[in-house]
């Protein structure tokens, strides 16, 4: 789990060149409604906000152990974009993966970008 940076907008340079995997069309994503993608053997929850920004977190909910984070409600808390786990409702910051209800817990984030009409995720 080396990738812990916030998801980077398209075109941002990085030190180690990430390997991007196309997962779906941008139009497959509905605003504020997540999807889950299989990237290698990782389950990645991808979110498109109301404004159109993309975020990707591990789909694994650390509180329940189930892969359900993609099905949570997307919103904001104090201006930060968030998703609430659909299982026990802990809220996670989409930019950092940090759990805002339990600061000791965080989930891995992934890089995600829009490349043409496609959405790409960087494997960690």
């Amino acid at each position: 789990m080396t990738e812990t940076l916030a998801s980077a907008p398209a075109g941002t340079g990085t030190l180690a060149a990430p390997r991007w995997t196309a997962v779906c069309d941008y139009d497959d994503l509905q605003p504020e409604r997540g999807v889950c993608a299989l990237v290698g053997d990782r389950q990645v929850a991808i979110f498109r906000t109301y404004e159109g920004a993309l975020y990707a977190l591990s789909g694994h909910d650390p509180f329940s152990g189930a892969n359900v984070l993609a099905w949570g409600i997307v919103g904001t808390r104090a201006g930060l974009p968030t998703v609430a786990s659909p299982m026990y409702k802990q809220v996670f910051d989409l930019t950092t993966g940090r759990c805002l209800d339990d600061p000791a817990v965080s989930v891995p984030t992934f890089r995600v970008r829009r490349a043409g009409g496609r959405v790409e995720v960087a494997e960690s």
Binding site: Q30, A37, V68, G75, M87
Partner: protein, 822 residues
């Protein structure tokens, strides 16, 4: 740098100490070695009887691999000067800290023949007892073998249950005048005796033991019981011999003397559990022993935790009888006593001379009010002692004593919550949850947490906001009116004009529900899809492993054999777990997201429709079989239940709605525990409203009597629509009515007399709902755009989530859960 911890003994207290230390010692400061003389690692001693009667596996989970556990080995000496312990296996174990957790031995009275009796403490003791019972049966073929337990306390009665479970005629001998003399008063002990005698045991109280003879037990006064097996369970003695030999102080009646840090006079040596004498007391209950373990774990990591005595209140179920004792039941003050010999109930409260403050009490036969009563010990009762005796203590959050445990998952008290609110300036529930962990387990205490928060903020002069969340300054009822009056149809419009930010898991489902109640098309249409809560999102109920359960509607609980067979076939084909629900229908568990449409295709083809088990909506209208079949029925309850269920199906509300119809006053459908319930009379129907089962049961109120069917339906229409318009988020009808100013009388004025002049509106709203209903699941199957969202993976649509695994149990599946690590 690591230090070495040696723990002597591996019972429950030692196990808890090691677990607590491993959990908190993130820097790995301590390397732990545990030496236990039993041939097995720690197990749950409290549950010993179930080992004997059910063969239960009592073992605690093993420690992690960094902990060395040496079983079957006994520490023979402590060399404090050298800082080592020596064992009977010839090992010398150096320590930087030493914890004695050697427990206790059963007290064996010094009577002739005592060496032939059994004790009841370890698994080995139980194995020996079982072997002896098997033999004694052989010896006394002529009649049923008997067993005697000496000691009528907690442990003695446990042992008696075990003997009876092994098929022996069981006698209990207690030297005190009544059973459980340490916990109960005379009246409680007498009531417990009646229960135990009713189970077929013989009780001898106020009589001592004279001697144990081969095949018999002789009591004082020449009473002889023919018995092959005798068990001593008459108290414990701390095992302090190691400490004594090492020159550490021990108490006069035994026990290693420790301070409130559980430390002996040697700063490197601690004692915990039943071998420790702390504050002049030896504790035999597991709770205080665990507390001592936690104290030492904290001290080993440089903390300041102290053991300040323990609440000896206990509640247990002894042979099916509820027994509880709390506070100081022997306090010299006023007694309020209630005895019901028929039901076998004894209750006694001890209150201060002014009858205001609860000092203690005893409950036998019915201990349901124990949790609240215990919380009030030392505090002023909110009502009269009689009310406390019969109703428990229904208190508002603000009045609860500080010691009341609010969140039992994380053991958070009202006092802790109040302190956090005051010290950290908390103003909302998420902050309280993050700060105290209250409400982060099962979540059932969140409403109580909110009440406490509101009470604290009011007391602090902060205006309590009725704001739904940080995104809306309005209550749910206000938002409902805004949406209705202004004709708003999207969340985006509502939040842009009346809110802030982009919403959250609180306000979005509320708005989704309001939009659905007002009829805005399918709940997964367009933007509405992103507002739906967990279960509504896939129109199914999410279970703990991320799979879903499916519940087709079975109106009134009436179903044809053909439809039953289809449900069975679908369950078999998709490998689903099936269970009958409390609402007279069938729940199918273990479906993956991508299977839901295929399952519903089969069900809809067979004539089923959504049961809305996933929605805050009408669930079921339960019914008894009614006058069609029943010899006592006076009306056709099934037909009415079906009519009502079909009328209100799909109606979205602030919370779920349950209903039932009973065909006569015998009330077999339990209508008085429902949001609206109907009971047949000779002349028509009685309507009950605002009942509830669940966590806070409430009997429904009789709203109107002997109604004809059309009037009944009209009243229910208005009741539901008025509730939907005015209730708070997640407020059931029971709490809504309790908080409705003017209560039931006001509700009658609104619904029957049209005091607010809104009945025509309410009627029209319900007509729109009935006319606009269509099956949500059929609509999904007919819409390819919605259908393609029912996948686990956007980039592998047919693929199931590989982490979902099942294992068999009782010929069905169950989730195979991997351990959650955080």
């Amino acid at each position: 740098m690591t230090s070495r911890l040696v723990v002597v003994g591996h019972g429950p207290a030692a196990h808890r100490l090691v677990e607590a230390l491993r959990e908190r010692d993130s820097a790995g400061r301590w390397r732990i070695t545990v030496v236990g003389e039993e041939p097995r690692t720690a197990y749950d001693r409290v549950a010993l009887t179930s080992y004997l009667t059910d063969g239960a596996d009592l073992g605690y989970p093993p420690h992690d691999e960094s902990v060395t556990v040496r079983t079957g080995e006994r520490v023979t000496a402590i060399d404090r000067a050298a800082g080592v312990v020596r064992t009977d296996a010839g090992a010398t174990l150096p320590y930087d800290a030493l914890v004695l957790a050697t427990g206790s031995v059963p007290f064996v009275p010094p009577v002739p023949g005592a060496e032939n009796a059994f004790v009841y403490r370890t698994i080995d003791d139980l194995d020996a007892l079982r072997a002896a019972v098997a033999t004694s049966g052989d010896l006394t073929m002529s009649r049923r073998a008997a067993g005697v337990v000496v000691g009528g306390g907690l442990l003695g009665l446990e042992a008696a249950r075990a003997l009876q479970g092994l098929g022996l005629d069981t006698h209990v001998v207690e030297v005190a005048p009544w059973l459980m003399p340490r916990q109960l008063d005379e009246g409680g002990g007498a009531m417990l005796r009646r229960h135990i005698e009713a189970l077929g045991m013989t009780v001898h109280t106020g009589v001592g033991l004279d001697r144990v003879e081969p095949g018999a037990v002789r009591l004082a006064g020449d009473v002889v019981i023919d018995a092959g097996v005798v068990v001593f369970s008459a108290g414990i003695r701390p095992r302090d011999d190691l400490a004594r030999a090492a020159g550490l102080p021990v108490g006069e009646r035994g026990g290693v003397v420790v301070d409130d840090a559980c430390r002996t006079e040697d700063p490197r040596v601690f004692a915990i559990g039943e071998c420790a004498l702390v504050g002049g007391m030896v504790y035999g209950l597991v709770g205080p022993c665990f507390t001592m373990a936690e104290v030492v774990a904290d001290r080993l990591l440089g903390g300041e935790a102290r053991f300040t005595g323990a609440d000896l209140s206990t509640q247990l179920k002894l042979m099916g009888v509820d027994v509880a004792s709390f506070g100081d039941p022997s306090a010299d003050a006023l007694d309020v006593i209630y005895t019901d010999p028929v039901a076998g109930i004894y209750k006694r409260l001890v209150v201060s001379d002014d009858a205001q403050t609860l000092l203690g009490g005893v409950l036998v036969g019915d201990a349901s009010s124990y949790p609240t009563l215990r919380a009030y010990v030392g505090a002023k009762l909110p009502g009269t002692p009689e009310q406390a005796l019969f109703g428990g203590t229904e208190a508002a959050g603000g009045a609860l004593p500080g010691a009341t445990v609010i969140c039992s998952c994380n053991n958070v008290t009202a006092g802790t919550i109040r302190a956090a609110i005051a010290e950290d300036g908390l103003t909302d529930v998420p902050a309280v949850k993050a700060c105290t962990r209250a409400g982060t387990g099962c979540g059932s205490c969140v409403p109580l947490v909110k009440k406490i928060l509101d009470a604290e903020l009011t007391a602090a002069g902060v205006e309590v906001s009725k704001a739904l969340c940080e995104h809306f300054d309005h209550s749910r009822a206000e938002l409902f009116d805004i949406v209705r009056v202004r004709g708003i149809t999207t969340f985006s419009q509502l939040i842009a004009e009346h809110g802030h930010g982009r919403g959250c898991d609180i306000c979005k489902p509320v708005v989704a529900s309001i939009l659905a109640s007002l009829g805005n098309g399918h709940i997964l249409d367009g933007e509405q899809a992103g507002l739906q809560d967990t279960n509504d999102r896939f129109l199914a109920n999410m279970q703990k492993n991320g799979t879903y359960s499916v519940v087709p509607r079975i109106p009134g609980g009436e179903i044809t054999p053909e439809k039953l067979i289809v449900i069975g076939e679908v369950a078999r084909e998709f490998g689903l777990y099936t269970k009958i629900t409390g609402g007279q229908r069938i729940d199918l568990f273990g479906a993956r997201v991508e299977q839901l449409p295929e399952i519903w295709k089969r069900l809809i083809d067979a004539g089923f429709e959504s049961g809305h088990a996933y929605g805050k909506a009408l669930r079921t209208v339960k019914s008894c079989v009614g006058s069609t079949w029943c010899r006592y029925g006076v009306q056709d309850s099934v037909a009415l239940a079906i009519r009502l269920e079909l009328r209100y199906r799909g109606l979205r509300a602030p919370h779920k709605i349950k209903s039932a119809v009973s065909g006569c006053a015998r009330e077999c459908a339990e209508a008085q525990s429902k949001d609206f319930g109907v009971i047949a009379t000779e002349r028509g129907w009685n309507l009950y409203v605002a009942g509830n089962g669940g966590m806070r049961p409430r009997h429904a109120d009789l709203f109107a009597q002997d109604l004809d069917e059309d009037t009944l339906v009209r009243y229910i229409d208005r009741f539901l629509m008025f509730y939907i318009r005015t209730a708070d988020r997640l407020q059931r009808t029971a709490s809504w009515l309790e908080n409705l100013e003017g209560g039931l009388d006001y509700l009658r004025e609104v619904i029957v007399e049209d005091r607010l002049g809104i009945c025509a509106e309410l009627d029209a709203a319900m007509e729109r709902h009935v006319a606009g209903y269509s099956d949500e699941w059929r609509a999904i199957l007919e819409d390819p755009e919605k259908l393609r969202r029912f996948v686990s993976f956007v980039n592998a649509p047919g693929m199931p989530d590989p982490s979902i695994v099942f294992e068999p149990e009782r010929d069905q599946i169950k989730p195979a859960m991997v351990e959650v690590t955080r």
